[in-house]
C-alpha cells in the first residue's frame, strides 16, 4: 500500500517546486490536524485490551480519515454517489436507483476554520465542519458526490443549501414541521416523489417496484442486525463500550450497506459469545448513562470518552447520528409502488423525534422508553452552541426525567477540545451523585 504519512495530500501535478497557494496550505494544514485527531482517538481506543475483535472492521473505515478519506466509501467508478444530510433523506430511493448514499454530517473540529468563512461566529459547529469539508478537498468523498440531498430541517441546514451551491449540485427537501397537518404529509409525499425523479435523472435509471422493494429489504436487514445489537447492549454488565457502539453505528454513514450488515452480524455473534463466557467491557457497577441532544459524529467523541474513562458506561443514546438513525423500519403493507413510497415517506417523518418538528411527544416517549429498557441511571443532555431546537426541548425533557426520578445533566459545548477539563468536572460530579453513591 502507498505509505503516505498521515495527513499529506497525494503528490500534486508536478510543476517543479512552485510555491503552494494559500488554499493548498490550508488544505494541507486541515488534513494534518484531522489526521492527528483521528490518530489520538485510535491510540486511546487501542489501550483497551477487552475490545471486541470484530471492531477492527469498523476501525479500518475511520482510519482512512487520516489519508484524506480515500477508500472510505465503496462506490464503483460509474456509480452515482449521493451525499445526504440529517435523517430525512430516503436512502431506499437512492439504493433503488443504484446510487450510493453517504451521510455527510460532520464531527471534525479541524474543518471548522474553513466553515467559518461562510457562517456567523455562533454557528452550529456541525454545519461549520461540513461546510469546511464541502468547500475544500480534505475528505475526498465530499467532492466525489454527484448530488447532495439536503433537508431543510433546522435553520442552519435551511440556509446551508445556497452556501453549498458553488461546490455541489444541491437538492433541497422541504420537511414538514407540523405532523398533524394532513396537507403537510401529502406535501412530504410529493417531496419524496420529487426526490425520486431527481435521483432517477441523475442516475439515469427508472425506479421500478422490484428495485424499490429490494432496497427496502436491504435496509431492513441492516436494521434487524441493529435491533439485535441494541438488545445485547441492554445486558448488564455491558459487553461493549458505548464509544465502540457509536463507532459501529457511525460507520453506517459511509460503508456499503450489505458489507456493514455482515460486519455487524459478526460483531453481534462475538458479543453473544462474550456474554456467554462472562467477558465484559465495563464493571457491573458502572453508572449507566444515556446521551441525548445535539448529535455527536466521529471524531467528536470527547464526551463518550470522558463518561467511560470515569468508570461509567454510555449504555444508550438518542442521537440522530447513531441509535435513532437506524430505528423505525419502513413498513410495507401491500407492496405496490404507491404503498411503498407512502411507507417510506411516513417512516422518515412520523415517528421521528427530531426537535425541528413542532411536537415533542415522539422524543419524550422515546427517551422514556430508553430509560426503562436500558435501565438508565443518569441522562446527559448535550447541546451544541447555536443549536436552538435541542436547547428549547431541554426543559420538557428535564421535566419528564424528573417525573421518572432520573437525574439529568445539561452540558453545552462545541467541537473544540478546550473545554474537556470543564466537562470532565461536571460529568464526574454528576456520576458521583448517581445511584446515591454518596
Amino acid at each position: 500500500m502507498n505509505e503516505l504519512p498521515p495527513g499529506q495530500p497525494a503528490p500534486a501535478a508536478p510543476e517543479g517546486d512552485r510555491p503552494l497557494t494559500r488554499k493548498e496550505r490550508l488544505i494541507r494544514k486541515v488534513r494534518l490536524h484531522l489526521a492527528m485527531t483521528v490518530r489520538e482517538i485510535f491510540e486511546e481506543m487501542e489501550k483497551d485490551p477487552s475490545r471486541p475483535k470484530a471492531m477492527a472492521y469498523f476501525d479500518d473505515i475511520f482510519r482512512k480519515f487520516m489519508h484524506n478519506g480515500e477508500g472510505v466509501i465503496k462506490a464503483s467508478d460509474d456509480q452515482k454517489v449521493i451525499g445526504t444530510y440529517c435523517v430525512f433523506v430516503p436512502e431506499e430511493i437512492i439504493y433503488a436507483a443504484g446510487g450510493y448514499p453517504v451521510r455527510l454530517c460532520a464531527g471534525a473540529h479541524d474543518s471548522n476554520e474553513i466553515g467559518e468563512d461562510f457562517l456567523p461566529d455562533v454557528a452550529c459547529p456541525m454545519v461549520k465542519s461540513e461546510m469546511g469539508f464541502a468547500a475544500m478537498p480534505i475528505l475526498d468523498f465530499y467532492q466525489r458526490c454527484d448530488m447532495v440531498a439536503l433537508p431543510a430541517s433546522c435553520h442552519w441546514k435551511l440556509k446551508m443549501g445556497e452556501m453549498l451551491e458553488p461546490f455541489d449540485d444541491v437538492h433541497m427537501l422541504d420537511v414538514p414541521r407540523v405532523k398533524e397537518s394532513e396537507k403537510a404529509r401529502d406535501y412530504w409525499l410529493e417531496e419524496v416523489r420529487r426526490f425520486q425523479r431527481r435521483v432517477e435523472k441523475i442516475t439515469g435509471k427508472r425506479i421500478r417496484r422490484r428495485q424499490l422493494r429490494d432496497a427496502i429489504r436491504k435496509i431492513q436487514r441492516a436494521q434487524r442486525e441493529v435491533v439485535r445489537f441494541q438488545n445485547l447492549r441492554k445486558t448488564i454488565p455491558a459487553p461493549i463500550l458505548g464509544r465502540d457502539a457509536l463507532e459501529v453505528l457511525n460507520a453506517y454513514f459511509y460503508d456499503e450497506v450489505e458489507d456493514w450488515t455482515e460486519a455487524l452480524r459478526a460483531l453481534n455473534e462475538e458479543l453473544e459469545e462474550r456474554i456467554r463466557t462472562g467477558v465484559h467491557a465495563a464493571p457491573p457497577r458502572a453508572a449507566r448513562i444515556l446521551l441525548t441532544g445535539s448529535p455527536m459524529v466521529f471524531p467528536n467523541w470527547k464526551v463518550p470518552f470522558i463518561i467511560e474513562d470515569l468508570g461509567g458506561i454510555l449504555a444508550a443514546d438518542e442521537f440522530c447520528t447513531s441509535q435513532r438513525y437506524l430505528s423505525d423500519m419502513v413498513s410495507v403493507d401491500e407492496g405496490t409502488m404507491g404503498d411503498m413510497l407512502m411507507a417510506i415517506a411516513e417512516r422518515y417523518v412520523l415517528p421521528c423525534a427530531c426537535p425541528t418538528f413542532s411536537n415533542t411527544i415522539e422524543r419524550r416517549d422515546r427517551i422514556a422508553r430508553l430509560v426503562d429498557e436500558y435501565r438508565i441511571e443518569g441522562v446527559i443532555y448535550h447541546v451544541l452552541k447555536g443549536c436552538h431546537p435541542f436547547d428549547i426541548e431541554q426543559k420538557v425533557i428535564e421535566q419528564l426525567l424528573q417525573e421518572k426520578g432520573v437525574p439529568m445533566l445539561k452540558i453545552e459545548t462545541d467541537y473544540s477540545p478546550e473545554d474537556v477539563e470543564q466537562l470532565r468536572t461536571r460529568i464526574e460530579a454528576f456520576q458521583e451523585t448517581l445511584k446515591g453513591r454518596l
Binding site: 457497577r285 464526574e428 460530579a429
Partner: protein, 291 residues
C-alpha cells in the same frame, strides 16, 4: 495510634490540606500551588502532619480534589470538587445546626453554586469556569490597582454607603473602568464596593438558575471578605452562613471525609477506567502556565 484521613484540595491558585479523625478536624494548612503539583502537595501534607505530630502511616486514606487531583501519586482516591465541597459544607452545617440546601463557592479562578436536596445530596449545580469575572482573581486585580492588601479590601468596601455601579462584565475591561473612575476622583470605598456588588450580581444570576433554597452556605477563600458577604446577601436576598473556621478549607475537609467513608465502606466512589495519557499531558501544561 489514631486513625486519621487527609483531604487535599488542589486549586489553580492555592492548595489546601486538611486532616480529620473521627468527627474532629485535627488541622489544616494552605499554600500557593505553584508549578509542581506533586511536590507542593507532598510538602504541604508532610508539613501539616509534622505540625500535628502525626505520621504518614497513621493516615489511612488521602483523597485529592480540585483541578490537579489526578496528579498526586500518593492519593488513595480522587473526587470532584463539587462533591467534596458538598460533603464538607453539610458536615460543617450539621455541626453548627444549619441545614445547608445551597452552597455558594468562590475560588481563585472559578465560582459555583450547588443546590442540595433534603438529604444533602447534589441535585443541581452551575459553574463558571470559563471567565475570571466573579472570581477571586477579580478581587486580586482590584487590590492591585488600588494598592491595598487583599485582606483589607472587604472592610474598605463596607465603609461605602452607596456603591458605584461597575458595568463591565469582563475583568480586563472592568480594570479600565475602575482606573477611569479613579481618575475622575471617585471615592475608593465606593469603587471597591461597586466591584464587590458586580461579583455578587453575577453569582446571584447563576444561583437563580440553580434555585436558591435556604440555608445558603458560602465558602472559598473570598468568603473571608466581609464586604463580599454583605454584597452577596443583598443581591441574593438571603443571609449567608460562612463557616467560622477558615472557609477556604471546607472542600479539603470534604475530601478527607470522603477518604474516611471510603475506608469505612471499603468501596471507592469513583472508579476511573484508566487515565487518558493525553489529558494528563494537557493538565501538566496548564499547571505550567500559571501566573
Amino acid at each position: 495510634m489514631t486513625i486519621a484521613f487527609a483531604g487535599i484540595d488542589i486549586g489553580s491558585a492555592t492548595t489546601k490540606a486538611a486532616v480529620i479523625s473521627g468527627e474532629e478536624i485535627l488541622g489544616h494548612k494552605v499554600t500557593t500551588t505553584g508549578v509542581h503539583i506533586e511536590k507542593t502537595s507532598t510538602a504541604l501534607l508532610e508539613e501539616l502532619l509534622d505540625e500535628l505530630g502525626l505520621r504518614m502511616d497513621g493516615i489511612k486514606g488521602v483523597t485529592t480534589t480540585g483541578y490537579g487531583r489526578r496528579l498526586v501519586s500518593f492519593a488513595t482516591s480522587t473526587i470532584s470538587e463539587i462533591t467534596a465541597n458538598v460533603k464538607g459544607a453539610v458536615w460543617y452545617g450539621r455541626k453548627a445546626g444549619v441545614r445547608v440546601r445551597t452552597i455558594v463557592n468562590i475560588g481563585g479562578q472559578d465560582s459555583k453554586v450547588i443546590s442540595l436536596d433534603e438529604n444533602g445530596v447534589t441535585s443541581n449545580f452551575s459553574m463558571n469556569d470559563k471567565c475570571a469575572a466573579g472570581t477571586g482573581r477579580f478581587l486580586e486585580t482590584l487590590a492591585r490597582i488600588l494598592e491595598l492588601n487583599l485582606a483589607d479590601i472587604g472592610d474598605v468596601a463596607l465603609e461605602a454607603e452607596v456603591p458605584i455601579r461597575i458595568n463591565s462584565t469582563c475583568t480586563v475591561f472592568a480594570e479600565s473602568e475602575i482606573i477611569s473612575l479613579l481618575a475622575r476622583g471617585k471615592k475608593h470605598s465606593e469603587i471597591i464596593a461597586g466591584a464587590h456588588y458586580a461579583i455578587a450580581k453575577r453569582l446571584a444570576r447563576m444561583a437563580r438558575r440553580v434555585g436558591i433554597v435556604e440555608e445558603v452556605f458560602f465558602d472559598g477563600g473570598p468568603a473571608l471578605n466581609r464586604g463580599l458577604v454583605k454584597a452577596i446577601e443583598d443581591e441574593m436576598a438571603v443571609s449567608l452562613y460562612v463557616p467560622p473556621a477558615v472557609p477556604q478549607v471546607t472542600t479539603a475537609v470534604g475530601a478527607a471525609l470522603i477518604a474516611k467513608s471510603e475506608y469505612e465502606t471499603g468501596e471507592k466512589i469513583v472508579e476511573p477506567r484508566k487515565l487518558a495519557k493525553r489529558d494528563m499531558e494537557a493538565l501538566k501544561t496548564c499547571a505550567t502556565c500559571q501566573p
